[in-house]
């Protein structure tokens, strides 16, 4: 099992944070372009899902998977989006994505008056804690899967 990478977007599509652990194939475009592409796709999926759903939804879009990876999506009512790519063996990880939002983003970015909101996060403490939290996840290791 593996965690490939993680994106954090705000409600306007600004990429607040990006980290990468196991990513064998790079996009081949500049990172800035990749963030826009990623956000554009997520935005489209959101509207697609809400139009296609035959019933009223509570949570909306949760995840998708391809032959090689799975994309997990979590959105808060304030529009913060936590997006994590893992391999296919990983089940639902809503609690993990929520933890990244509530215990890391809120605690170390929102509660840090020196971190401007709506911009790329500069706090080293946030990056460091996020990295160690993701590395501690039971499905992080590349060897186990």
């Amino acid at each position: 099992m593996t965690v490939h990478n993680l994106y954090l977007f705000d409600r306007n599509g600004v990429c607040l944070h990006y980290s990468e652990w196991h990513r064998k194939k790079q996009a081949g475009i500049p990172k800035e372009e990749e963030y826009k592409l990623m956000y554009g796709m997520l935005f489209s999926i959101r509207s697609f899902v809400s139009k296609m759903s035959p019933l009223d939804m509570k949570d909306g879009f949760l995840a998708f998977q391809t032959s090689r990876y799975k994309l997990h999506y979590y959105e808060t009512p304030t529009g913060i989006k936590v997006v994590m790519n893992t391999d296919l063996g990983v089940g639902p990880i809503r609690d993990v994505l929520h933890h990244i939002y509530s215990a890391l983003y809120v605690e170390l970015v929102v509660k840090n008056p020196l971190c401007p909101l709506g911009q790329t996060v500069q706090s080293e403490l946030f990056r460091c804690r996020l990295d160690s939290y993701v590395r501690s996840l039971p499905f992080f290791s590349a060897r186990a899967g």
Partner: protein, 157 residues
């Protein structure tokens, strides 16, 4: 009691508002803006010194211990980590993880901005001491976040 986070956010806004005033052309801009924060803390500390439950103090050290235990618990939900003195009216109060600095950094990032976030608390200590009958001078220092020290000098009148 109100949620801790209310005080934290209000404090951050006070610092942002008063810290921004240092662009004023007046003499000693930054120092003056911090003294407003310190003055606010002083008033709050005076009231807390009056309000917090306590027994009568026998000597100066008891008062400082009261600051480290009761006052700190009331304001920051924890006790001070260390108290040193030279027995000549100077005390060092040490907090190894000062709550207002915890979310900022672990290390040296944001070190330049840290002093602004201690001015209110310096006033808090000075105000409480004032209510309990001591004139004092309180200064603070940060070497690495989130640890900080408050130096209290008791003025003999």
């Amino acid at each position: 009691m109100a949620d801790v986070v209310l005080f934290e956010f209000l404090h951050a806004e006070m610092v942002a508002e008063l810290g921004a005033r240092d662009t004023d052309p007046g003499p000693g801009g930054q120092k003056r803006s911090l003294s407003v924060l310190e003055g606010t803390g002083f008033r709050v500390g005076q009231a807390l010194g009056e309000r917090l439950p306590r027994e009568t103090f026998r000597e100066e050290l008891d008062v400082l211990k009261f600051l480290c235990r009761d006052l700190w618990v009331a304001v920051f939900q924890k006790q001070m980590d260390g108290l040193c003195t030279n027995h000549q009216g100077t005390y060092i109060l040490q907090d190894n993880s000062f709550p207002l600095l915890i979310p900022m950094a672990l290390g040296l990032q944001y070190l330049e901005d840290a002093p602004k976030f201690l001015a209110f608390t310096c006033g808090l200590l000075r105000g409480t001491l004032r209510t309990l009958g001591f004139q004092s001078l309180v200064t603070s220092s940060v070497a690495t976040l989130p640890a900080c020290k408050f130096q209290v000098e008791i003025r003999k009148s």
